[in-house]
């Protein structure tokens, strides 16, 4: 939205700030009226809403900065991020106080902490390392996170016995910090590649592979033209289970075909890229860029249909008689995947149009390379301690410190990948591009460990 505006009035400076400011003032005023009516100002929901408004404002300004390079935006964007972080801190504190334990116990609480960490890291990266554009990437993620939180069941749930341990907090805090550091190293490696004059079509290939991967994962839910989602029990605010640990899936008719179509659309740029490489014909790349544009439109359509169909209506199931409702809260990962795909492609378009500006705004390649390495130097010990804390806790709770459970195994794989990176860098002197690719691979593995294992693989680690 913000981008379209700026495209029409390039670099007028104050226009965007004023518009974003007015928009936010309007939103906050409207919600203030509500608050006055209900008489409860400092509730968690209100604080979260305020955080969302501030993050959205910051996101719009960061995006505006990413597109136009107007320095004035950054100041306001930082201010808003600070304000958002403050509101977010309030929400975290409120939650902590209400629940009596740090907010790590459910997906909702994890997201709350994750968004907080992300905003804090954005400010650190901006102030300490001068990577100003980073908000362009992190703020939209934060916004999606907060929106997702509005959909997830948010009531304070008591901790089940296995989670009643100090080691939960140690383990999850370390995991959050480690994953956030990995995310930062990934963003920095990407920026290094931009600064290192990697060809734009490499990014085309990368984003296409990413979205193809997403839709391949999404299509595991394809069922005879329909699309399987988990049934949702609105009364108990929980997934419907057939038996212990087995969730009930319902099939939304025809949505599967749409997903298949979108899969084809996101695969098209990749195919065109490969054709361009094989036939050595640059003409295909111009077509591929257009195909990216079309795929964004189709992806948005898929998202809208997904939202509409999941929110309303009842659907049949293969495993049980009758019709069941579902909810966005039952499919947070699919929602995140769909939004993530659109987001990745939008970033590519941003790069395509504004590469020169981005290059001017980023620190030089050497500095980015060094900072990437430094963040991994922080991430690796944290990963090590996270695994150790998890093992120690498992030993206290289940009587075994290592079970080769998929989550554990993938954590070990992540550790090995980063260990490989460090060995190559320290003993083989890998610098620059190869190191950057390795950092990106490392983060992909981290993301799979965090989301993919929970979503795609069976296992014990059922909490997150």
């Amino acid at each position: 939205m913000a981008r379209a505006k700026v495209e029409q009035h390039p670099a007028t400076g104050t226009t965007l700030v004023v518009m974003v400011g007015l928009g936010m003032a309007f939103l906050l005023f409207m919600s203030f009226l509500n608050v006055v009516k209900s008489g409860n100002i400092l509730s968690e929901a209100n604080l979260l809403f305020a955080a969302l408004v501030f993050y959205a404002g910051a996101g719009a300004l960061y995006l505006g900065f990413g597109v136009t390079g107007t320095d004035a935006y950054i100041k306001f964007a930082s201010l808003m991020t600070w304000a958002g972080l403050l509101a977010n801190t309030g929400a975290v504190a409120h939650r902590w106080y209400e629940a009596g334990h740090p907010p790590f116990a459910s997906i909702y609480e994890m997201l709350l902490s994750f968004v907080w960490t992300l905003a804090a890291l954005t400010l650190i990266a901006e102030k300490k390392y001068g990577v100003k554009v980073i908000g362009t990437v992190t703020m939209p993620v934060a916004i999606v996170g907060v929106i997702l939180m509005q959909l997830l069941p948010s009531e304070v749930r008591p901790l089940v016995p296995a989670l009643q341990s100090t080691w939960l907090h140690v383990h999850v805090t370390l995991a959050m910090l480690a994953y956030a550091a990995c995310a930062l190293s990934f963003a920095l490696a990407m920026m290094f590649l931009i600064q290192d004059k990697v060809k734009t079509e490499m990014f085309l290939a990368a984003t296409s592979i990413f979205t193809v991967g997403i839709y391949a994962a999404v299509l595991t839910r394809f069922e005879r033209g329909g699309f399987n989602v988990i049934a949702w029990d609105a009364e108990n605010k929980s997934e419907v289970f057939i038996s212990r640990g087995v969730r009930l899936f319902v099939t939304i008719p025809d949505l599967g075909w749409l997903m298949l179509l979108v899969f084809a659309a996101v695969a098209a740029p990749l195919v065109l890229y490969i054709l361009a490489r094989v036939k050595k014909d640059e003409g295909f790349l111009a077509v591929a860029d257009r195909a990216v544009f079309i795929s964004i439109l189709l992806q948005s359509m898929a998202l809208v249909f997904f939202l509409l169909r999941v929110r309303g209506g009842q659907y049949p199931s293969l495993d049980a008689e009758g019709l069941y409702a579902t909810s966005l809260a039952a499919s947070p990962f699919i929602l995140a995947a769909l939004v993530g795909g659109i987001f990745a492609n939008l970033l590519y378009l941003l790069l395509l149009w504004r590469r020169a500006d981005l290059e001017r705004l980023l620190p030089d390649a050497d500095a980015l390379d060094r900072i990437t390495y430094k963040t991994i130097c922080i991430a690796f010990p944290l990963l090590t301690l996270m695994i150790a804390a998890g093992a120690y806790w498992a030993n206290r709770a289940w009587g075994s410190y290592w079970n080769w459970d998929p989550k554990e195994t993938w954590a070990a794989i992540t550790w090995l990948v980063y260990a490989g990176y460090l060995h190559m860098r320290i003993t083989r002197g890998w610098r620059g591009r190869r190191a950057a690719y390795f950092a990106i691979l490392g983060f992909a593995v981290v993301m799979f460990t965090f989301f993919g294992v929970t979503y795609l693989l069976p296992g014990l680690h059922a909490y997150a």
Binding site: A162, A388, A391, G399, S400, W404, P406, G420, R428
Partner: protein, 491 residues
């Protein structure tokens, strides 16, 4: 001296040694471990999956193939273990291969740089001075000001200044590798050979020293565990809050220890750990509470409580005995059978005896047409409450290797801290005569990591030396002639 650490092989052994200690082999092995680990998370693994689920997921032929290759239990197959052993050997070999160099470097620090070294060192500067001694003492003061220790090196043909910090950082990588080996030994050797895991089910009042192992075998431990009680607490919404068991250790008839265990807080005795793993109700009756009223309508009803095989007098003449409890009954061909051990559909069988009439009547609750004789009983019974027996499921494990693992983890944390955050910095200050024949102070420095931060530090040192030299009027016009590189420092 250090040289002797490196094995002196020739021919094929030498080749094997070289392959084993090369980083390329290490990386290939790591990639193999990663690939097989991924396979182990994608293919269902026997230890964590029900047999039924395995059969549902794969076709019989496929399952036979997967079982034959060990792919259904990758992490315990001999070839995966062999792979991990190979990784360990690789770490050992690579460490031994590189250790002598590092050790020489560590044990015999290079304190007095020769001309060749001075020429190639990237981070260096020259400061004009008038006199060697005056220059060096100014440098000493400068280092002291910056809280760096210095050492005067006096050789036959030269004297100079040397300052270093955190030499131990050079050995950090060996600490990390040693810690990794310690973890492997704890898991793969000690626990694989001496560790075991099993399960123990106890109901309150019972004791046992027989642990059921995963393969169905029994293991006898040298002491018995007695359960003195178990229970569950729930939250207001019914979800479980706490499971607990009161356990006592009994060794040759004497009670040695007592503990109330909960999830996350096990009982440990002689290295054997007992964890609260499950909790539930057995299909056995603990107590039933009934209202008994005379069938003829005279007299008052009374509440009685019966345990298995217990007899309770109802009046001077009549008594009742509980003889049978069926948790989940089904009637077939005029007989009552138990369908399962879940307390889903319970039935009780009592015998009401009258001394005077010398009669015994079979009473069933609920009524079983054709089986029960409830109609002729002098009392009618109305069940009030049914308490079935509780049991607690204890996970039992003996993992003597875990101490090696925790020690390894602590060691690794220390090692990684040194690897990443403790920088070995060295400074040399040597009075030299420069190309134009003037006396100057050559200052050089290196750091083994984080070199951009070191550049700043080096600049500070040079500036401080210049400041210390300033009071001398002869050096007032002295300007540092700094030659400085930015990248790799030579050792």
């Amino acid at each position: 001296m250090a040289q002797s650490l490196r094995p002196d092989f020739r021919g094929t052994p030498r080749k094997i040694w070289q392959t084993l200690s090369s980083i390329k082999t290490g990386v290939v092995l790591i990639i193999l471990v990663v690939i097989f680990s991924i396979a182990g998370t994608v293919i269902l693994q026997r230890p964590m999956t029900d047999t039924d689920d395995m059969q549902r997921a794969y076709s019989p032929a496929m399952l036979r193939f997967l079982d034959a290759t060990g792919l259904t239990d990758i992490f315990h197959t001999y070839w995966f273990i062999a792979l991990l052993v190979l990784v360990s050997l690789c770490i050992v070999a690579a460490s031994i291969q590189r250790f002598p160099n590092s050790w020489r470097y560590f044990a015999r620090p290079y304190k007095s740089p020769d001309e060749g070294f001075r020429k190639v060192l990237p981070t260096q500067a020259q400061i004009p001075i008038t006199d060697d001694e005056q220059g060096l003492s100014a440098a000493e003061r400068a280092f002291k000001h910056l809280h760096l220790k210095t050492e005067r090196i006096v050789r036959t043909d030269s004297f100079s200044l040397f300052s270093e910090r955190n030499r131990i950082s050079e050995m950090a990588v060996y600490i990390v590798h040693a810690s990794l080996l310690l973890i492997f030994i704890g898991y793969g050797v000690v626990d694989a050979l001496y560790g075991w895991r099993g399960f123990l089910v106890l109901s309150p009042g019972n004791a046992s020293n027989q642990i059921e192992m995963k393969d169905g075998a029994k293991r006898t431990i040298p002491f018995a565990i007695r359960c003195d009680g178990t229970g569950e607490e729930t939250y207001a919404d019914g979800s479980p809050k706490r499971w607990w068991s009161k356990l006592a250790v009994v060794e040759s008839g004497r009670e040695m220890s007592r503990k109330e265990i909960v999830v996350n807080d096990p009982l440990v005795y002689q290295g054997v750990r007992f964890y609260q793993a499950s909790y539930g109700r057995t299909g056995k009756l603990d107590q039933i509470i009934l209202n008994a009223a005379p069938a003829n309508g005279t007299g008052t009803a009374q509440e009685i409580s019966l345990a298995m095989n217990q007899t309770v007098a109802l009046d001077a003449d009549t008594s009742v005995q509980l003889v049978e409890f069926i948790p989940d009954f089904v009637v077939q061909d005029g007989r009552v059978y138990a369908r399962s051990n879940d307390v889903a559909n319970p039935a009780v069988h009592m015998i009401v005896t009258s001394k005077k009439a010398k009669s015994s009547v079979n009473v069933w609750l609920p009524q079983m047409p054709g089986i029960d004789e409830n109609a002729s009983s002098p009392y009618t019974f109305d069940p009030k409450d049914l308490k079935t027996g509780l049991y607690t499921g204890l996970q039992v494990s003996h993992e003597p290797g875990q101490w090696a693992i925790w020690a390894g983890v602590v060691l690794m944390a220390i090692g990684l801290t040194f690897v990443f955050y403790v920088v070995h910095t060295r400074f040399w200050v040597v009075p030299v005569v420069d190309a134009r024949g003037r006396t100057a102070l050559w200052v050089g420095g290196t750091a083994n990591r984080n070199r951009d931060a070191f550049e700043v530090k080096f600049k500070n040192v040079v500036e401080q030396i210049q400041k210390e030299l300033k009071p001398e009027p002869a050096n007032a016009e002295a300007q540092a002639e700094k030659i400085s590189g930015t990248t790799i420092a030579g050792r």
